[in-house]
Structures are given as C-alpha cells and as structure tokens.
Symmetry: C2
Subunit: 136 residues, 2 copies
C-alpha cells in the first residue's frame, strides 16, 4: 500500500532533469521526456500541472519550453508529489472534521500522525538535493 503511481514517478524524474540544466536554460518537453524515459504526451500533462501550480514557467512557440519557476533548492519533493497525486491523506477521515460514522474515528489520530510524518519527510527534501545526489 501507499504506492506512488507512475505519474508521481514521472513527475519526479522530469523535474529532476530540469533542475540539472544550467539555470535559466529552457527545455522542451520532448527533450525532458527522452531524458527521463517517460511517455512524452503523458509528461506534457504533468508539466501542465506544474505550470499551473507555479513550480515551472512555460512559454510557447519557437524557443519555448519549460524552466523551473524557483531555484531547485526552493522546491520540495512534497510539492512535486502533491502536484500530481493530490494531498497526502492516508485516510479519508482526515479531510472533514468528522468521520463518516459520527465523531472522529478511532484510528483518526494515527492517520493524522502518519500524514504529519510523511509530509515532514517530503518537505525536508528539495529537488536540488535530489538532482545533485550522486547515488544514481
């Protein structure tokens, strides 16, 4: 359980590639897809999400492409993952104030703790760290 989907994997691989480019260099989606070994049309959708959320800036037309919107050191793994997979919610009952059967359910506090821990870990990792990581 708790598995990252392909979309999440592709998102991470793609943005790491961007982070490895010289600052300010524009990359085509075709280039990123080839480098990250990811289906191009699928990756295009992922980068659309990134652009909407302000993780990357996109430009169209000749010379267009994608650049990180912020330094890689200011983009966390959590942001990237949540951009495509949605918020980290181990159990539905973390959403509303009450579980489905009246009052917070018995395991509510446990899931809350899991959520907090995972968010904390993913917030502590930046794309810059991953991009520089020699462990390849």
């Amino acid at each position: 359980m708790m598995e990252l989907t392909r979309k999440g994997e592709y998102a991470i691989r793609g943005i790491i590639y961007l982070a490895q480019q010289p600052p300010g260099r524009v990359s085509l989606i075709s280039e990123i897809a080839a480098a990250a070994e990811v289906p191009q049309t699928f990756l295009a959708k992922i980068f659309q999400s990134f652009a909407k959320l302000g993780l990357v800036t996109s430009s169209r037309g000749t010379g267009g492409g994608f650049v990180l919107a912020r330094p890689a050191s200011a983009i966390t793994l959590r942001e990237v993952v949540e951009a495509v997979e949605g918020p980290i919610l181990p159990n539905r009952c973390l959403l509303g104030s009450a579980c489905d059967r009246g009052g917070p359910c018995r395991v509510h506090a446990v899931w809350k703790q899991v959520q907090t821990e995972v968010v904390h870990i993913l917030d502590g990792v930046t794309i810059d760290t991953l991009a520089r990581n020699p462990e390849h």
Copy 2:
C-alpha cells in the same frame, strides 16, 4: 495520495469489533458486518485473509465464527492493514535491490525513510488500544 482503501477501513472496523467482545466469544461474520456497517460478503473475504495470516481463528458449522487468535494487545494496526492492503511500500523501487533504470534511484532513500516511519507508527498501535479508545 497514500489513501487507505475501503478494504482497509472495513478490516480495521471489523477487527476492532472482535476485540471489543468478551475474550473467547465467537462472533458470526453477519454480526460483525452489521455492527461495523460493512457489506457482509466483502467482510467475509477480509476475515478469510485474517484467518490465513493467523490474526483470527475461524470455525465452521453451528456455533462457528471468528475469535481473535491472540490478545488484541498483541495485534498491531500494521498487521491488520498489511493483511488486506499488502506491505507498506511507498515506491516500487523499495522492492528489488535496484530501481528500474539501473542502480538505486535518487529518491530511494527518501521512500525508504517514509516506509520506515509509517511502519514504526503503525507497529506502535495495537487493536486493543483502538478498541478501548473513548474517542469514537
């Protein structure tokens, strides 16, 4: 992301009910399903998994049903969740020694850390604790 499925929710609700019964008391699947407000046939499958894994003992025929195989204080939330959802694996690459593209991937260590933390949290919660929890 990281959401528990219905199966996981049902599993937890069902085993908590069992833990709330007087020690040694046999419960019918129909009774558990009604109390936990879970589809009976679906819950039956879940309890089959429990029985196979030795979390509960089952007996057939008149007077048959389910009982916890161990004291509720000796059954962890992790066991219950993993019984129906499979092992806690945030990323596929935690499975084999290498990621799909040669060598451990850049995020490998992060997912390993997430896995370790979640397992630790869920191992620290017993069904007994949940069953007694006044927060309902």
